[in-house]
Subunit: 245 residues, 2 copies
């Protein structure tokens, strides 16, 4: 399993992924699920993946070597718009499906892949997409300013309640880490370390990329602080006066 | 879908279920998923169910009419221990599987059922079980003092963080309602009203049974108060000093 989340904020993008992969609970590894294409000042595109690792890596390799789209080969370094970038990622997924789908199907292995693709090219708006295994995709908007792939349920309530597109990048990092922490606690196949990327709108370059390990002081403060806050918050709420004492 | 949660606390049991059933998003109904057998002062047994409604109702009906266990017919009103009650519920599930499983399988319908069974008989300890579709079961202990069936993921983080077996009944009600609220917000197939039962250890009678509707003042206070508390809590946490301003 995997948990990746992307926040689509007025100030920019916050992208966070775990690094655990597993082929059964007795075969656990660490792989980076975040890939970045940057031409500093011109474009910044970040790709997060969940699902089958072989499919994810095949998609990423194809995107680097060039994927056919409308009769021409492209990479994320030469597509003219973020919409074309999402189409290209979808085309890469479909190309892997064409190449590997029948063999996977013969082994009863699901074609399991999902991508988050965020970024900005030139003076165009920043955008954030989620690409499905069928190669089609949806886009985040201000109404729902986050997208998740992988094990998304444990970490969703805090985002539903606290995140808006007006959330600052620093608060977005905080919320993404809280959301990830809820997931880490509840699903063993989501694991440390984490890969974090922060992008500031209008800059076309990575603002921050950070690997967050178990001994990261800030993440530890978030984990402990959040647990304490939740306990304090529920204790401070009045109890029902109709529960017999 | 359904969400039911049972808390196994030193002071007693808190059992909470939603009431929504659906056969597709365009076919939604309200059914009570909580059944109680009480011989006041002698035994109190409560059963919550998730999964296929026809299977759930068949299980409950069989339990009321009598289920064969070790060569004798029993109901929840005459089993001598809670362990036997859990065995009887499992036997009822297996009887429904024997009767309906082949026909369901022919229609490609999964045999989907899970039960929470809690209660206390005479001077024996109170117990809380989760019964699976195979009729086998597990039991809550002080290490993990809650069990969930149905859509359990959204509502789990707050229980993981805040609940212990020393939690009071009033705080348990609060936490169960917070856990339910997180689930209601994220899964449309879990819906109001709610059915709540509180049992005080050592009494062998229901302490409180309450249907909680949309306009229940306390539940509304929990919903609004909790959202506000979460927002305040995350805002009060310091931001990372390494996010570029």
């Amino acid at each position: 399993m995997t948990y990746c989340v992307g926040l689509y904020l007025d100030e920019g993008l916050v992208m966070l992924s775990d690094t655990r992969t597993n082929a059964g609970v007795d075969h656990i590894s660490t792989f980076c699920k975040m890939q970045v294409e940057e031409i500093a000042g011109e474009r910044m595109i970040v790709l997060l993946s969940s699902g089958n690792l072989a499919i994810s890596q095949a998609v990423w390799n194809r995107l680097q070597e060039g994927v056919w789209l409308d009769g021409q080969q492209h990479t994320l370094r030469d597509v003219p718009t973020m919409f074309r970038a999402a189409q290209l990622a979808g085309a890469a997924v479909r190309a892997v499906f064409d190449a590997d789908g029948p063999a996977l199907s013969a082994q009863n292995i699901a074609f399991d892949i999902a991508l988050l693709l965020g970024g900005q090219i030139g003076g165009q708006p920043q955008r954030l997409f989620m690409v499905y295994a069928a190669g089609n995709f949806i886009e985040a908007t201000a109404d729902t300013p986050f997208l998740q792939i992988g094990e998304h349920k444990y970490g969703k309530p805090i985002l539903d309640r606290a995140l808006t597109s007006a959330t600052t990048l620093a608060d977005g990092v905080k919320l993404a880490l809280i959301s990830m922490d809820s997931t880490l606690r509840s699903n063993l196949t989501v694991g440390m370390p984490l890969d974090l990327l922060v992008y500031r709108e209008g800059t076309q370059r990575v603002a921050l990329r950070r690997r967050i390990t178990e001994d990261d002081a800030y993440f530890r403060a978030v984990r402990d602080g959040w647990s304490n806050s939740l306990r304090d918050a529920y204790r401070a709420m009045p109890g029902p006066d109709w529960v017999p004492g």
